[in-house]
Amino acid sequence: MNPRHSALVRVTHWVHTLGFFALLVSGAAILIAHPRLYWGETGAAGSPAWLELPLPLNMDQSGWGRSLHFLGAWVCVLNGAVYAASGLARRHFSGGMQQTYGVLQRLAYRGVVFVLFPSITVTGLAMSPAIGAAAPAIVGALGGHQSARTVHFFAANLLVLFLIGHVTMVVVSGFSDRMRAMIAGEHA
């Protein structure tokens, strides 16, 4: 019998789902105001882009987009901190996971929690002119403001890929059982 998801894991899972979708929708709203990516410090319309994204240009969605993006970011960062702290304290990542999941699954989950989430947070912070003043080394280490924006974009894409894989696995392994396990904490 597999161990049950603790209440803390279940609550943080769904709070994160909400925060993640807020970030995804608002991130797209911000991106389409300037769907061009650059490498280095600067870049603007009229200069060559490193990558022109085939997206429709829309400059009227970034106001609410930014407000929702930062609300979602606060939800995910605070919620993620609770999840990671309790996970480390309860040895969730080394103990419980070991018995339940395969090698590839464990790698994917740890990659998301310990590589992608931190990367997307740091690159997001690096784009802030105020954080750039408080901690200029972060921007320097990433190779400049526009490089941070480009890495942020690719980290977001990898997270979406993970989400697709994650939902596919849930469906393949029995959707209603898995949903019951993550909502009510029943044995999966």
Partner: protein, 248 residues
């Protein structure tokens, strides 16, 4: 989940803590004017966190002269359709004045020449647009702090509200108003500030996004409350959905 005694105690403690957090935040000026609604929660967390993080007033990053962008877009208004402005422009802005009023001992008007007589500061910084692009330029101007001091700012000042020829208005808190890189800029890349970039004088507030750097300034007023300006959210941009605090 059952309601346990532990859960109830934790809940009461959380409520008490957030209650005192709100009153502490108000006392230390950590609540932005656009704190209302669901988005206001995020605006407040970001503003409070950044004000704490920046309490030592670090400088925005500055760059080398060879990093100045050859391509620096000018957006929104690029030539105000205002008859007085066009007349001043034709006269080389000799008759342009900056109105300074509100909570100051000496409400006054400064001509471009008078602003140029203050000690100046030149800085090469990155302008980050909320749309996503960014560009580097060199800015020359008088630090706002010198003009505030010359006008005799009063201790109850909480915000500096700027207004422009093209009808825009926006405010800074005192942390950004006193910051050494906050300039009334009249020069760009070693020349007079070009008209598309806000001639004769624009605001430079380097630790915030581009839209806070108002172009075509016509004056500012020192205030202790943003009430009475539009819907009281501190900026015209906030009424169009753009965060009042844009250190993001």
């Amino acid at each position: 989940m059952k309601l346990t005694r532990r859960g109830m105690v934790a809940g009461a403690l959380t409520a008490a803590a957030s209650g005192s957090a709100v009153s502490l935040a108000r006392r230390y000026g950590l609540v932005p004017p656009d704190h209302g609604g669901l988005f206001g929660v995020g605006e407040t967390l970001t503003y409070a966190a950044q004000r704490v993080l920046l309490h030592r007033q670090p400088l925005a990053r500055e760059f080398r002269r060879d990093q100045i962008s050859t391509n620096f877009p000018a957006i929104n208004t690029v030539l105000p359709q205002d008859i007085d402005y066009l007349r001043q422009m034709a006269g080389g802005f000799d008759e342009w004045k900056l109105d300074v009023g509100g909570l100051v001992e000496r409400p006054s008007e400064f001509s471009l020449e008078e602003l140029r007589r203050f000690p100046s500061r030149t800085q090469i910084t990155e302008h980050v647009c909320e749309q996503g692009w960014s560009a580097i330029a060199e800015w020359t101007g008088v630090p706002l702090s010198l003009v505030l001091t010359a006008a005799g700012i009063r201790p109850e000042a909480k915000y500096v509200m700027f207004y422009s020829v093209d009808g825009w208005w926006d405010s800074l808190d005192m942390a950004d108003a006193w910051h050494p890189q906050t300039l009334l800029a009249y020069g760009m890349n070693g020349e007079d500030l070009p008209v598309p970039h806000g001639a004769p004088v624009r605001l430079r507030v380097e630790r915030q996004l581009g839209y806070k750097n108002l172009k075509y300034l016509s004056g500012f007023t020192v205030i202790d409350s943003v009430q009475g300006w539009g819907k009281g959210q501190g900026a015209e941009g906030a009424e169009h959905g753009y965060s009042w605090y844009a250190g993001i």
